[in-house]
């Protein structure tokens, strides 16, 4: 579900953080516990970013990923994909956590 909205967001609003409000409201309406809120938001966007990145870098034969990894002292391009995905997961997870906590604050 969130993947679906994520892809929509990717094509409609091309800001890198545009998944954040989606994670927020998804968790606001759907999530039941604090850890679930964080991890579902995290996993959804980390996975989304990884897929979108692979979709770009594989046809590029990782030419650019290799050059950028070298620049960031990463020994392999795969690590750059992982680091990117973790960053994507982190703020999305934090966003869905916020969404869940806000609802709980309203509900008392």
């Amino acid at each position: 579900m969130m993947l679906f909205w994520g892809i929509i967001a990717y094509f409609l609003v091309p800001y890198w953080w545009s998944i954040a409000p989606i994670s927020f409201f998804a968790a606001f309406f759907l999530c039941k516990t604090t850890p679930a809120a964080f991890w579902s938001g995290f996993a959804a966007n980390a996975l989304l970013w990884m897929l979108l990145i692979l979709f770009k870098t594989l046809p590029n034969e990782n030419l650019l990923a290799n050059k950028m990894s070298q620049l960031l002292f990463l020994p392999h391009w795969v690590l750059l994909v992982i680091v990117s995905s973790l960053i994507g997961g982190l703020f999305s997870g934090l966003s869905s956590l916020s969404g869940f906590l806000v609802r709980r604050a309203f509900n008392k």
């Binding site: 800001y15 890198w16 970013w49 979108l52 990145i53 870098t57 034969e61 070298q70 604050a105």
Partner: protein, 806 residues
């Protein structure tokens, strides 16, 4: 507020801070969230190997559709139906591949790099403004705008660049912009001229006068004369004893002070060009070659393209940011350029009335200084101003607040150094290229060149009418002999430039008897030429080799010239090495047998696997340094040390030269002593570096070649690759410099061009066309260039196309 509410607020705050952090740049670290995201980040710059066809692009600014065909090297071939559309398309397509490079060049020329890189580039911006380069570009824009053709061309090009920039979403920005979190600037016609002036600055800017002033003050004129000696001038650009069919303008003062010029050794910026007439070729038509040696960068200085429109169909290389093709050919003619290295910059010592620098002394009275305020807006640095002073000679580049780093004389507050430079003259140089691109024969060619002022270039020419020619074209000041070798007296009228050498009296030769013309940055003429043109010419080594080879070559075709461009024969070695070896043996010091065998068997070529080249190069450098370090004061850069050619001449002829003696030792050293000691020192260094004689000693290990990314991003360049070639050989590939474009053109009823760039067409490090030509270039191959006769002509090499729509 209860616990739940504060937790929720805390989480939201944390989220906001995290997003803000990931969206912000820290020093050289780009905004990480942004640049690593799939939607806006670096991943968007990762191009497919097989680029998706774009079909058509609506720009709204072309009069009729422009067809752009891409060949297998992704060279664009533009087909437009009017001039506006043609130059619009050139701007558009160049920006598409090279936007970052264009902005960097323009900013460097305009002195605005600090606006994006901050205070650390402020000094280089100030230096650039102080030499008046951008001001000169502004004035040349006025000239260009008065001519309807160049005005329309510059505006159309600019429109094209901006039409591309306007279409870009942040996700589409070239990667470098993302790395510094900036957006592309808007292009203006003045930037095109500024980039051209920047090129001229690289080729003509020079401060040899300050080194000469040091020499004069510390050593005296007699010693300087002795050190410089006399030029052999055996292989000038224009063949010796060429007739000069004009009566020269008078120049006044005619006595000269020194007989030679100081050469620029080890100069790595230089170029070759040559052409042979039909009598020497397989086809019976001329063949022409050109390889400009410049700093090797990714993306490279040149951008290849074909431009077709009404009255024009031309192929060649352009400089991103400047409309037209600079080196290339059409169906009738081909041309190529090398730098003349002529001295078109002079320095004047200015005496101000007092420390306020309001007035300066000239022609027996005080004159008002003109002031101009230059403003700088460095990133996070507020506004910084610099007051530039102008005398009638030009900008006072060095004064109390900005000292020249080379000049070692006394610093006086009331003193300054004004720069007089042909580059400051209002000119419309771009017009020369506009007409050159359309020229059909020798007459058109000469007419086109009359607008080329600066940088003065040796322009080689060949056409399908079987003419060949070489013209040392440019605006040269009319000077008395040796004027400007030293710092001139700014208070004396006699030291002003006396006018200009008329454009039809510049050195040139057409269809010379020997059947060929060639240039390699050597002196332009023999002493029979009636005007004085000094300069920091290159040594004659390359010129001599080219002359010798072209004299003997017959049945030439494109491949013969490809091989000649790869020639690594070192004339200096032929001249001086036998003497060095003979004296080494006489000296009686112990020489390793294996080394001796290598040295004696050398063919004087700097080929990739030559060990002998490594030995000679190291030994010669050591010898040269030993001689002059021990006998002249100061480090080499601030004194006019004799050049390699002169040093070799002293070694060969003046065996008892006083310069061999080390002034710091009590005994008197001889030439043999210096040769032996420098040999030993050089070999010790090589052993320390490479270990015992073996595979590590090959030339390609000694001189490792590099290609730098234009902004120095390490993994975007090539930190080290192995290849043959050396400075002062025809294949002048040395360190980070080398052939930035190799071209050979066979003229005839069906012109055929061959060429190669060291990198590729794209400036995007994420593109396969960023460095696709590198392997072939390194191996010395040339691609057959795809020169289409019309938009309809089919060719298997065309693999993609775009249409720019109304």
């Amino acid at each position: 507020m209860n616990k739940h509410t504060s937790k929720a607020i805390g989480a939201i705050l944390l989220l906001a801070v995290l997003i803000w952090l990931l969206n912000t740049k820290y020093g050289v670290v780009p905004p990480l969230g942004k640049i690593l995201s799939p939607s806006e980040g670096l991943w968007q710059n990762a191009e497919r190997r097989k680029i998706k066809p774009e079909g058509s692009i609506v720009t709204g600014s072309v009069g009729s559709d422009v067809l752009i065909k891409y060949d297998r090297n992704r060279v664009p071939h533009l087909f437009a139906e009017n001039e506006h559309d043609l130059y619009f398309a050139q701007g558009y397509i160049t920006a598409k591949d090279r936007l970052w490079q264009m902005e960097m060049q323009a900013r460097q020329a305009a002195g605005t790099l600090s606006e994006i890189f901050g205070m650390r580039l402020l000094q280089s911006d100030i230096s650039m403004r102080r030499i008046g380069l951008f001001q000169a570009a502004r004035q040349s824009l006025d000239s260009a705008m008065k001519d309807p053709r160049t005005a329309a061309m510059l505006e159309a090009y600019s429109e094209g660049v901006n039409a591309y920039v306007k279409k870009l979403k942040p996700a589409d920005y070239p990667l470098e912009y993302k790395m510094i979190d900036r957006q592309p600037m808007t292009w203006k016609p003045v930037y095109s001229l500024a980039v051209l002036k920047l090129m001229a600055e690289k080729l003509t800017g020079g401060e040899a006068e300050f080194r000469m002033a040091n020499g004069l003050e510390k050593l005296g004129m007699d010693t300087i004369k002795e050190l410089i000696g006399e030029d052999s001038n055996a292989y000038p650009v224009i063949p010796r004893h060429s007739p000069w069919k004009f009566s020269p303008l008078p120049v006044g003062l005619s006595e000269g002070t020194i007989a030679g010029n100081i050469r620029n050794d080890d100069r790595v910026i230089g170029s070759n060009n040559w052409a042979v007439s039909g009598s020497k070729t397989q086809s019976g038509y001329p063949v022409l070659a050109n390889d400009p040696h410049l700093e090797l960068t990714f993306p490279g200085i040149w951008y290849q393209l074909q431009m077709n429109g009404p009255g024009i169909n031309v192929y060649g290389v352009s400089i991103p940011g400047i409309p037209c093709i600079m080196i290339g050919y059409n169906k009738d003619i081909a041309w190529g350029i090398t730098n003349t290295s002529a001295d078109v910059v002079d320095w004047y010592r200015i005496r101000f009335r007092d420390r306020t620098r309001q007035e300066y002394w000239y022609d027996d009275q005080w004159h008002k200084v003109t002031k101009r305020i230059e403003r700088f807006y460095p990133d996070k640095g507020g506004v910084i101003t610099d007051t530039l002073l102008y005398t009638h000679q030009g900008p006072v580049v060095y004064d109390g607040s900005h000292r020249n780093r080379v000049y070692m004389g006394p610093a006086k507050e009331e003193e300054g150094f004004a720069m007089k430079w042909v580059l400051h003259q209002p000119s419309n140089d771009i017009k020369a290229f506009y007409f050159l691109n359309r020229a059909k024969n020798y007459v058109d060619f000469r007419q086109a060149l009359t607008d080329l002022f600066c940088p003065a270039q040796n322009v080689v020419f060949a056409d399908a009418d079987k003419d060949i020619a070489m013209v040392c074209e440019g605006k040269y000041p009319l000077k008395y002999k040796d004027q400007g070798e030293f710092i001139l007296d700014g208070s004396q009228k006699r030291d002003d430039w006396k006018g200009w050498i008329p454009m039809d009296e510049v050195p040139f030769t057409k269809n010379p008897e020997n059947g060929f013309v060639c240039s390699a940055n050597q002196p332009l003429t023999d002493s029979s030429y009636p005007y004085y043109i000094g300069g920091a010419f290159a040594s004659e080594e390359r010129a001599k080799r080219i002359n010798i080879r072209l004299s003997s070559m017959k049945n030439i075709n494109a491949d013969s010239f490809r091989l000649l461009q790869l020639d690594t024969y070192r004339e200096l070695a032929e001249a001086v090495y036998p003497v060095m070896l003979r004296r080494l043996k006489q000296s009686g010091i112990k020489v390793d047998k294996q080394l001796l065998m290598e040295m004696e068997g050398w063919d004087y070529k700097y080929t990739e696997n030559s060990v002998a080249a490594t030995l000679f190069d190291a030994w010669w450098r050591e010898l040269y340094m030993t001689i002059w370090r021990n006998s002249l004061p100061g480090p080499g850069m601030t004194f006019p040390w004799p050049d390699f050619e002169r040093t070799a001449a002293i070694i060969k002829t003046d065996t008892n030269s006083r310069w061999m003696d080390d002034a710091k030792t009590p005994q008197k050293e001889t030439l043999t002593d210096v040769i032996a000691s420098s040999y030993k020192a050089a070999m010790d260094k090589l052993i320390r570096k490479n270990g015992n004689l073996g595979d590590n000693w090959t030339w390609n290990n000694s001189d490792v070649k590099t290609i730098r990314h234009i902004s120095g991003i390490p993994s975007f360049g090539l930190p080290g690759f192995k290849a043959g070639g050396a400075a002062n050989t025809i294949n002048a590939l040395a360190g980070g410099f080398g052939p930035s474009w190799r071209m050979v053109v066979e003229l005839g009823p069906h012109v055929r061009g061959y060429g190669i760039l060291p990198g590729g067409e794209s400036g995007n490090p994420g593109s396969f066309y960023y460095d696709n030509s590198f392997p072939s270039w390194k191996e010395g191959k040339l691609d057959e260039l795809i020169f289409l006769s019309s938009r309809e002509q089919a060719n298997d090499a065309i693999i993609d196309s775009i249409t720019l729509k109304k």
